[in-house]
């Protein structure tokens, strides 16, 4: 029983090579690379255009978005890719028997604390990904693959800040 429950992850270097091949395939096929936050932006624009069309027509952010993107914002490369990510993650979880409802946190805190910080972290990451024009995937990983200066700056700023702040949030994790 414990044999089945134990979550075995792939060797990280092999997983890394496979991740690199996914990025490589995306560049070879589509001339662009993977991302995540862009799909959320598309969903927000689509939502606002549906719920408050007049606001979407006048507010600068949505106007600028629709100038650069023709048609339905949800009909975009990153949105289809993110749907794939959910399917791929789910399939991997099925194969490795990791499907379970769970809140992960250090034993020193309650689930509620973890969820409050998860929400706050999500809000910050959402805002930051817009300033950064992409997140860890779209800006840092994809940017580094094509040797983009911005990609390296994003990577150093994200990991550097997280390292610098780690001490203050240690109770969440260890």
């Amino acid at each position: 029983m414990s044999e089945i429950k134990k979550s075995k992850y792939m060797n990280p270097y092999i997983a890394g090579v496979l991740l690199g091949l996914v990025v490589l395939a995306a560049n070879f096929i589509s001339g662009r690379s993977v991302g995540a936050s862009g799909a959320i932006k598309s969903a927000i624009v689509a939502g606002v255009e549906t719920v408050a069309p007049s606001h979407a027509e006048t507010a600068t952010f949505y106007k600028e978005f629709s100038q650069g993107h023709k048609g339905n914002p949800l009909n975009s490369w990153l949105v289809y890719q993110m749907l794939g990510v959910v399917v791929g993650g789910f399939l991997s979880g099925v194969i490795s028997k990791r499907l379970t409802w769970k809140v992960e946190h250090s034993p020193k805190i309650q689930s509620r604390t973890r969820l409050i910080f998860a929400l706050a972290g999500g809000v910050l990451f959402g805002i930051g990904s817009q300033f950064g024009r992409g997140c860890t995937s779209g800006s840092a990983l994809s940017g580094m693959a094509v040797l983009s200066l911005g990609g390296f700056i994003s990577m150093m700023a994200i990991f550097g800040t997280a390292f610098a702040l780690a001490y203050f949030f240690r109770k969440l994790w260890i």
């Binding site: 890394g16 990510v85 972290g121 817009q130 693959a145 911005g150 800040t161």
Partner: protein, 196 residues
């Protein structure tokens, strides 16, 4: 030859379909690597688990070298591959805010969808936060539009910026990564823990 869609070897609709399959590969590899676990991800910042460092840098190097070799063999025209634009101030500020979000939330956007896909409730809440964050940015856009667009540098490659060849810069990245991997292996031995 490549990129296939830019050279019109495949159609736009095929491109979108393939995006879905690329996403499946992306999500599958992230989950297999352990990126669906927030405690595992956060571990890199405390030294007890360096899966993020290893997978992320191995991935970046593999893709970087792959693109350089494919370009060398004439399989892909790197001038047609998208290179992220650099707005220096916005990139730094965005990275700092994302870093804070990472250590508080334990996920980044891509990994949170992976975690949510296998039932992690903290990942789902993180995603709710992501939507809120992007919405806040969109609604407050006039307040920070100036900052967002300041310091535009075009789409420079870091090798051009330091005035070295692309191959040489890639070598520097590989050396840096190997040193980090070595440090990571050392840290994991020093701060052992159970698998989450």
């Amino acid at each position: 030859m490549g990129p296939l869609v830019v050279n019109e070897i495949i159609s736009e609709n095929t491109n979108l379909l393939l995006a879905f399959f690329i996403g499946i590969g992306f999500g599958f590899v992230l989950e297999q690597g352990g990126f669906s676990s927030s405690r595992k991800l956060a571990g890199v910042f405390y030294g007890y688990d360096s899966v993020v460092l290893k997978v992320f840098f191995t991935g970046a190097i593999t893709a970087m070298l792959g693109l350089l070799f494919m370009s060398l063999f004439g399989w892909i025209d790197l001038n047609l591959v998208y290179v992220n634009e650099t707005f220096i101030w916005s990139a730094i500020i965005g990275g700092v805010v994302m870093g804070a979000g990472f250590i508080m939330g334990g996920y980044c956007p891509g990994t949170s969808f992976c975690g949510a896909a296998i039932g992690k409730i903290d990942a789902m809440i993180f995603i709710v936060g992501l939507f809120l964050g992007v919405f806040i940015f969109a609604e407050g856009y006039p307040l920070w539009e100036g900052l967002y667009k300041a310091g535009f540098m075009g789409s420079p490659r870091i090798s051009e910026f330091f005035n070295v060849s692309e191959g040489l810069f890639a070598l520097f990245v590989i050396i840096a990564a190997v040193l980090m991997f070595w440090g990571a292996e050392w840290a994991e031995k020093k701060f052992p823990r159970e698998e989450y």
